[in-house]
Amino acid sequence: MNIALKNQRKAGRSPRQNGLTGLVVAFVFFGFLLLMLQKPSLMNAVMLAAVPLGLWAVEMILPRLFSMDRLLLSLVDFLCGLGILLQYRYNAGRGLEQCLNYGAGLVAMVGCGLAVRCIRSWKLLVLPMMACCCALLILPFVFRSANAGLGATAWVTFGSFRMQPSEIVKIAYLFVLAYFLSRRRVVFALAYTGVMLAFLVAQRDLGTAAIYGGAGVVMLYAATSSLMLILGLAGAGLGAVSALYLLFKDSFFLTVQNRIRNWLDPFATYDLPGGGYQMAQALIAMANGSWWGTGLGLGDISRIPEYSSDFIFSAVMNEFGLVFSLLVIAVYILIVLRSADIALRSTSAFHALLALGGAGLIAVQTFIIIGGITKLIPMTGVTVPFLSYGGTSLVSCMGIMGVVQGVANNNERILREDRLLAGEEDAP
């Protein structure tokens, strides 16, 4: 016990990672300092002190309570801090709310981590989980009126509270798929994915469907190593979606048709209802930022209607510039690579697939939304992981990171046990 404890302390305290924590905290601090200098107010002063301190506390305290990968935690914290900074810069209320969302996200992260660590047998849980997923995905159809006027039928509202069930279901989907695939029940995994995708397409939430599909394909390939299977599935999936689209493009998928039109030339459809207005403004925001950005607090993306959620990355490109944005994307890539690394270190196929699937979900979501706002692919309304305003999105993304952290925790426990078994002495 004593040795194990020491081991844990040692693993948790690598000097370089402390440096990273310092960098993250300093970045957020200087960001708020800039805002404070531009507009001195008590509120800004409180945020200037509270947010960096909070982030620092999380990075210092959390790994002691629950052993986790500190590099991954720092990277996620950086993005969350950047998210709070950007939300606060445009709307103080949203910034504060985002802090609360971040707190909820931390709870979800620890919860998911504990679930991975403590639940040893998933056999009994898988069926209820699947049932829950389906029930949650049916909910938006029940609350149909709440979705009127929106592109997709993806939301559920209780009073002023609004949530998107598909965000939470993501985590359950990850567990179910990892469970089936680790047991080589490929057909079950396929069938379940098919059902999920059918629900999402019925909700017209093609962006989220692509995230599920993309992450599913990644896990499937890792589990089976069969390129033919993946190519066949990808072909069949694309074929099915195109066929559905062509059949219903003027009725059910009218919004999708609009989005493709706006993608081809947003400026040509600028003034039409449901036209390229938002997309064109996003491109203009990117051009205004150019390579080095206008500077924090000096840009303006408020002409983009959805600037705080789906288009928040336009704010990064606008105020920090394309070069910095590339670095932010590098942080996402590091998160994905680190998660994959954790997957490589795990000893069971289930855990490996969990960590890789988590990486896949984050990666595909990032690609879809950043590709959307840079006009590489048609815009589909999904949130930017860790940056977008919104509780469900943040809880879901941090929950996924919690799953990965749970795998990391498990890896370390096994490593420790192995060391103990080998009788390796730990020098004090």
Partner: protein, 465 residues
């Protein structure tokens, strides 16, 4: 597990690469479209960029002041001579930004010093205020004013004069115009720059492209004898191809067909070439391309409204320069320039020099090849044909003593218009005076009788210098 690990590594690598793609595309878009997006009429942030900066001056190629800011009132001022002011209005624009993508708007980043380093910015602020760079345009204000004075009164149209070796635009007129110094509201008709934004069928001037396609794809095109019955009908269609003024040219060679501008011959050539070959030749000349020239925004030309295969009379009329063809006068000028410049099409340039307030050159002029439209030998053949047009064909009234002028006229029939659009494209075949001209007069008559005499005066003006 070993196989799993291998697959995990591959998946992670692929995911990482995929995530970089949007940013790479973003960087590419920024390089290619950044200026267009920044200066877009929808960019409300432009106001913020402009605030607190005194814009620099605009000069023509000879150093003549085209636009400046009054130090006392802070207002933008234009030349005192009203004719000159009006003539330059579309190329220069006005401070309100009525003309889309005119120099005053499109060159914002130079005029308002967006390229200044932080050090320069700091120094200027300390010295008493930020000032943008001065911009010298390739335009010749004398020539532009002269063109405005000879253009038929009350007619709509456009004139472009450019250097076919360097791509420098010497004159870019659009009619009707407006006075940039006046506060009166400017109508869309007045503010439209017809040289760069007016897409219409170029009539027989497009036969240059059809001819290029025929020379490349039909080996014996020059040796054959063509029969012109004055009319060409198509089995299964009611529409026919008729020659202008119901002319009946009889038996003629390709050269004669080009100089007489015989519709039947070029219609039958288009039919023989087919949709693919004609589209390919047009694409070689830049039709259908997404123009992203550095200094000016030109509407994209198109051969037809859709990608559907052109058949029968549609294909035939396209070969004769009608049907759904949509080209701007500037693009037709570039096509003529390519013939003059041995098949090499230069990127049109409007920006000659950017100078900082303390007199240093920030940006000099550089020529840039836009694309190679056709092989040099084919261009020489077409040039010889175009010389014949002026010596013995439809362009005789463009002849200037002492200058070797090559040209092609066009008479474009536009639905719902009383008269035809008169087109003329031509150039001086002389390495020392590499000037190409495009004249379009809307609703006026034939190219040979209306547009060619205007071009003749422009050539005389240039040649007399």
């Amino acid at each position: 597990m070993k196989q799993l690990r291998k697959s995990i590594r591959l998946c992670a690598a692929i995911l990482a690469v995929i995530m970089v793609l949007p940013m790479l595309y973003g960087g590419y878009s920024l390089l290619r479209y950044g200026t267009r997006w920044r200066t877009s009429q929808y960019n409300t942030y432009l106001k913020t960029i402009k605030s607190g900066v005194t814009p620099g001056n605009l000069y023509d190629r000879n150093g003549f002041l085209l636009a400046t800011t009054n130090a006392e009132t802070g207002q933008r001022e234009y030349p005192a001579d009203e004719t000159l002011r009006r003539a330059m209005a579309h190329a220069v624009g006005n401070s309100r930004g009525d003309v889309m993508n005119a120099a005053e708007t499109f060159l914002t980043e130079y005029l308002y010093g967006a390229n200044m380093s932080y050090l320069q910015r700091l120094r200027q602020t300390l010295e008493g205020g930020l000032r943008g760079d001065d911009v010298t345009l390739t335009l010749d204000s004398g020539l532009t004013a002269y063109i405005a004075s000879i253009f038929p009164q009350g007619k709509n149209g456009a004139v472009v004069v450019m250097n076919y070796k360097t791509g420098e635009i010497y004159a870019m007129n659009s009619f009707p115009g407006f006075d940039p110094a006046s506060d009166e509201a400017v109508s869309i008709q007045q503010s439209l720059n017809r040289a760069t934004r007016w897409l219409s069928a170029p009539g027989s001037t497009f036969k240059i492209v059809t001819l290029a396609a025929a020379l490349e794809n039909i080996p014996d095109a020059q040796e054959r004898v063509y029969q012109c019955e004055g009319e060409l009908s198509f089995p299964g269609y009611t529409r026919v191809v008729r020659d202008y003024g119901s002319a009946h040219h009889g038996a003629l060679t390709l050269r004669q067909a080009f100089t007489q501008s015989c519709n039947s011959t070029f219609a039958s050539l288009a039919l023989e070439l087919g949709d693919k070959a004609l589209r390919r030749a047009a694409a070689n000349f830049g039709v259908g391309d997404n123009f992203t020239f550095r200094d000016l925004v030109v509407e994209n030309s198109s051969i037809a409204a859709s990608d559907r295969e052109l058949l029968g009379p549609d294909l035939a009329w396209t070969g004769a320069g009608q049907n759904q063809l949509a080209l701007t006068p500037l693009h037709m000028c570039m096509i003529a320039s390519a013939i003059a410049n041995d098949g090499v099409m230069m990127e049109p340039r409007l920006l000659m020099r950017v100078t900082t307030p303390d007199g240093q050159t920030r940006l000099g002029f550089e020529t840039n090849v836009y694309r190679t439209a056709l092989p040099a030998d084919k261009a020489q053949t077409i040039r010889a044909y175009m010389r014949d047009v002026v010596l013995a064909g439809t362009g005789r009234s463009a002849q200037v003593r002492g200058l070797s002028i090559c040209a092609k006229t066009g008479t474009a029939e536009i639905d719902g218009q009383k008269d035809d659009n008169a087109w003329f494209v031509g150039f001086i075949e002389d390495a020392d005076q590499p000037v190409a001209v495009c004249v379009v007069v809307a609703n006026a008559g034939t190219g040979g009788s209306v547009a060619a005499p205007i071009a003749q005066k422009i050539f005389t003006y240039i040649g007399g210098k």
